[in-house]
């Protein structure tokens, strides 16, 4: 009988660090670590000596000093007497606002184009294909500058709206004015406004808060109504009518609130050489918004198309065979599966829209890069601090969005075995 003996335990030899797979990975990592640390230290020392040579220090104190420049679009109060930190906030809000608007428009256009590209109607499908291929294969900067140029050169001047026989006219029952200085749209006004709440760094309109509260409450009431109806239906077999009640719950409170606060629209009017009143969307904002949306929509269209193609026809047929009517089949069977394919690329498209807002420099939109990474940086001469903060903020936004995406991906992952 043979007995398997343990192999003789050899002592540790330095050669094993390289030739023995058990130790080799450790060796590689240690060497790698040393290289990275040495490189990092070298960069750090360089920065230190360069800063010393330039007579600069490394501090973020400039954020609390007076900025001294104006920003032409702001969502919170700001003046040239505000601090650089405040300018940063305004820029960041402008960036997020633009990104939000562009994401919505891009999704709408992308959905339509993606669905129509699969249409059996050859004309529509071809048109959409041409749209997608044209816009995807040309740099977005070109679209941005082009839209800006169209706005600035081809749109009528405000004075052309004036006179007995104006050469330009306002759209939508004299409510929207498209001029070469931007687009003027009606603004919501409240004649019996509830005032503002001071939320520390910015003011929030109480009217807006009230509207949000009422809408949330209405939705809650609406869902409760439907839950009750379902309970009654389960118990008695007869579903009580909910349509008018539901409509009343949604519409009446909001209408009452708007009437109480004296809600009305403030229309833009031509006074002197320019339009007054209404919300003024500058050319830069319009150009960024339209160009980014139309460009990114092509990518969204492609992922929507891929999502629809990924659902095999058998799924729809199986749902119909189960007796679901087409609407329910789409909602319960097709859509959840299609969304699993569509949503991840959609969110990464949102991410890239957010990053592409930094191209605002091309048309002078005052976003984060133009405030913190532009005027503030040039005024204070603190390139290092400003660029680090700028990259840090963009990085945080990206990481937050991708974290949300990961949460979503985990929640819709196929539950297998």
């Amino acid at each position: 009988m043979t007995v398997a003996l343990d192999p003789p335990r050899a002592g540790f030899r330095p050669g094993m660090l390289i030739y023995d797979t058990r130790y080799r990975s450790i060796t590689i990592q240690v060497i790698f670590m040393i290289l990275v640390v040495v490189f990092g230290y070298w960069l750090f020392e360089n920065v230190k000596s360069n800063l010393r040579a330039a007579g600069k220090d490394f501090s973020f104190g400039f954020l609390w000093t007076r900025s001294g420049y104006d920003i032409n679009q702001m969502l919170v109060q700001y003046s040239s007497d505000s601090t650089h930190g405040r300018a940063l906030l305004v820029g960041m809000l402008n960036t997020l606002f633009l990104a939000f608007m562009a994401c919505i428009l891009a999704t709408v256009i992308g959905l339509i184009a993606g669905v129509l590209r699969l249409s059996k109607n050859v004309l529509v499908a071809r048109l959409m294909e041409i749209y997608v291929e044209t816009f995807r294969n040309v740099p977005v900067v070109l679209w941005i500058v082009l839209v800006n140029a169209i706005m600035a050169v081809s749109m009528p001047e405000p004075k052309e709206f004036r006179g007995e026989a104006p050469t330009a006219s306002m759209l939508f029952f004299d409510s929207v004015a498209v001029t070469n200085r931007g687009i003027y749209v009606p603004e919501p006004l409240f004649s019996r406004s509830l005032g503002n709440t001071d939320a520390g760094i910015f003011l929030i309109s109480n009217d807006l808060l009230a509207i949000i509260a009422v809408v949330v409450a209405s939705i809650w009431g609406y869902r409760r109504l439907h839950r009750n109806a379902t309970t009654v239906q389960n118990a008695t077999g007869v579903r009580p009518a909910t349509r008018w009640k539901g409509l009343a719950i949604v519409v009446l409170p909001l209408a009452a609130l708007l009437a109480a606060t004296g809600f009305h629209l403030g229309y833009p009017e031509l006074k002197g050489f320019n339009f007054v009143g209404g919300v003024h969307a500058r050319n830069s904002l319009v150009a960024m918004w339209l160009a980014l949306s139309i460009y990114s929509a092509t990518y969204i269209a492609e992922s929507v198309r891929a999502g629809i193609l990924a659902i095999s026809r058998g799924q729809t047929e199986a749902a119909l065979a189960l007796g679901l009517h087409p609407g329910l089949a789409t909602r319960l069977v097709v859509l959840p599966q299609a969304l699993r394919v569509v949503v991840p690329p959609l969110i990464s498209q949102y991410l890239s829209i957010t990053k592409n807002t930094s191209l605002a420099l091309a048309v002078g939109y005052m976003d984060l890069r133009s405030t913190l990474g532009g005027i503030t940086m040039n005024q204070t001469g603190r390139e290092l601090e400003c660029m680090l903060m700028l990259m840090g903020i963009y990085l945080s936004i990206s990481l937050i969005i991708s974290a949300l995406m990961n949460v979503y991906n985990t929640s819709i992952k196929l539950k297998e075995r």
């Binding site: 790698f32 990275v36 920065v47 044209t134 995807r136 082009l146 140029a149 990085l395």
Partner: protein, 432 residues
């Protein structure tokens, strides 16, 4: 016996389908007019096509190709076609196309970038298409040095000596790895680096003094237009793929430190807009380098674009790696292949094949992103366009210029995406 009244003895000839089921009429009915919604869509798209054609057609038809300024253009159009008619003024392209293509490259030297482009197509041949003789690959390997010399000029011996560095590394590997594999790998890395740092320049100068061959030297500030975009784009594409593969492998690796470094690198560079990286390249790089060092701005941009694109590439390739069944890795292990051999022979060919659309999509994105260098005042096509528009003669012109620039980008990007579809089809090995 049953009485048979009638039995047909000859087969009837098949009848043609009714006219409504064939031909153009059927096609139109089935595709364009199948339902009310479809009819509405058809009418809408016909209208859209009509508007586009009716606007662009006459505009193109009335185009003017020789004029000195926009004013003159408009005057010619008004004289020929009547007052108030609009027409294209392609005279601006006729006057400035060389500038948009070559930037401020000296006119008499235009043959150099043109020749480089032709050589690039030759060098790409064996990489892109399998029917091109494989011997040309040797030329493809030396092409970067050739292109560098042709574009920037100077002594021919510097690029030659840089190539000698690669050759020396290869030779060292061949000789020493026979004795000891590890020492061979180390020397393959060390010998060329030592050569480039200490011997490359003196050797080039020495040979140049004995045998002076060279072209007129040009600075990077003379690069511009599509030449600049192509230089940055093609170098970025060439370097980002290998770097991306390494990063993807690092992210998939079992080595914890290497893995976390790669994750931080990839996520860090993916999380910031390219434009901030370009600003770092143009403003901050001096802070991170030893005092007094400067290097070429185009080189800096290429490095940043490469790193940025490599981070995206790594994610695409990681997707390809993740799509491979576990059995492929196990089979490679079972064959006794070591890590690099397994990657090279089994994993990567399959993973790269799966990720072709993503990789090419990245290339296209990178090429389009080269337009961002206009923000750090390099004269790429977009910058030149704004310079022309700011010019007194051409103030107010935009469609013509943007169509020209857009068309050039479109041709480049569209052919890349078509090539990727061709490649996908060619490499398809499954049977459904």
């Amino acid at each position: 016996m049953a009485e048979t009244s009638y039995v047909r003895s000859a087969m009837l000839a098949p009848q043609k389908p009714p006219a409504s089921e064939t031909g153009a009429v059927h096609w139109v009915r089935a595709n364009l007019l199948s339902s009310w919604g479809n009819i509405a869509l058809t009418i809408l798209s016909v209208y859209v096509i009509y508007v586009i054609v009716a606007t662009i057609g006459p505009w193109f038809y009335r185009s003017v190709w020789t004029a000195g300024s926009l004013e003159e253009c408009r005057q010619i159009i008004a004289e020929t076609w009547g007052e108030g008619k609009r027409g294209a003024c392609f005279a601006v392209i006729a006057e400035r196309w060389q500038q948009i293509l070559f930037g401020f490259y000296p006119k008499e030297l235009y043959w150099r970038p043109t020749l480089t482009l032709v050589l690039m197509l030759v060098a790409l041949g064996p990489i892109l298409f399998s029917w091109v003789p494989k011997q040309i690959l040797w030329f493809s390997i030396t092409f970067p040095a050739v292109a560098f010399w042709l574009l920037w000029g100077g002594s021919v011996w510097l690029p030659v000596m840089i190539l000698v560095g690669f050759a020396s590394g290869f030779a060292a590997f061949r000789v020493i790895s026979n004795v000891n594999g590890l020492a061979g790998a180390l020397s393959a890395a060390l010998v060329p680096v030592l050569w480039w740092v200490f011997l490359c320049n003196p050797a080039a100068e020495l040979v140049q003094s004995v045998l002076p061959i060279g072209l007129v030297e040009l600075g990077s500030d003379q690069f511009g237009g599509f030449l600049l975009s192509t230089v940055i784009g093609v170098s970025g594409i060439t370097f980002s793929l290998p770097l991306g593969i390494l990063l993807a492998l690092g992210r998939q690796s079992d080595l914890l430190i290497v893995k976390s470094f790669c994750v931080a690198f990839i996520e860090g560079f993916r999380g910031v807009p390219l434009i901030t990286l370009l600003f770092v390249a143009s403003l901050l790089l001096n802070y991170f380098l030893p005092p007094g060092t400067t290097f070429d701005v185009i080189l800096r941009v290429i490095i940043m674009v490469t790193i940025f694109s490599a981070a995206y590439m790594a994610e695409v390739i990681r997707g390809g790696l993740a799509a491979l069944p576990r059995g492929q890795y196990e089979a490679a292990d079972a064959l006794g292949l070591d890590y690099w051999k397994a990657q090279r022979l089994i994993i990567m060919p399959q993973a790269l094949k799966v990720s072709i659309p993503g990789i090419v999509g990245n290339f296209i994105g990178l090429f389009k992103d080269t337009t961002l260098v206009s923000f750090i005042s390099l004269s790429d096509p977009m910058q030149l366009v704004s310079a022309i528009r700011a010019n007194q003669e051409w103030n107010g012109i935009y469609w013509e210029l943007f169509i020209f620039v857009g068309l050039l980008f479109f041709i480049f990007c569209f052919s890349m995406s078509r090539y990727s579809m061709y490649l996908e089809n060619k490499l398809k090995t499954d049977h459904h």
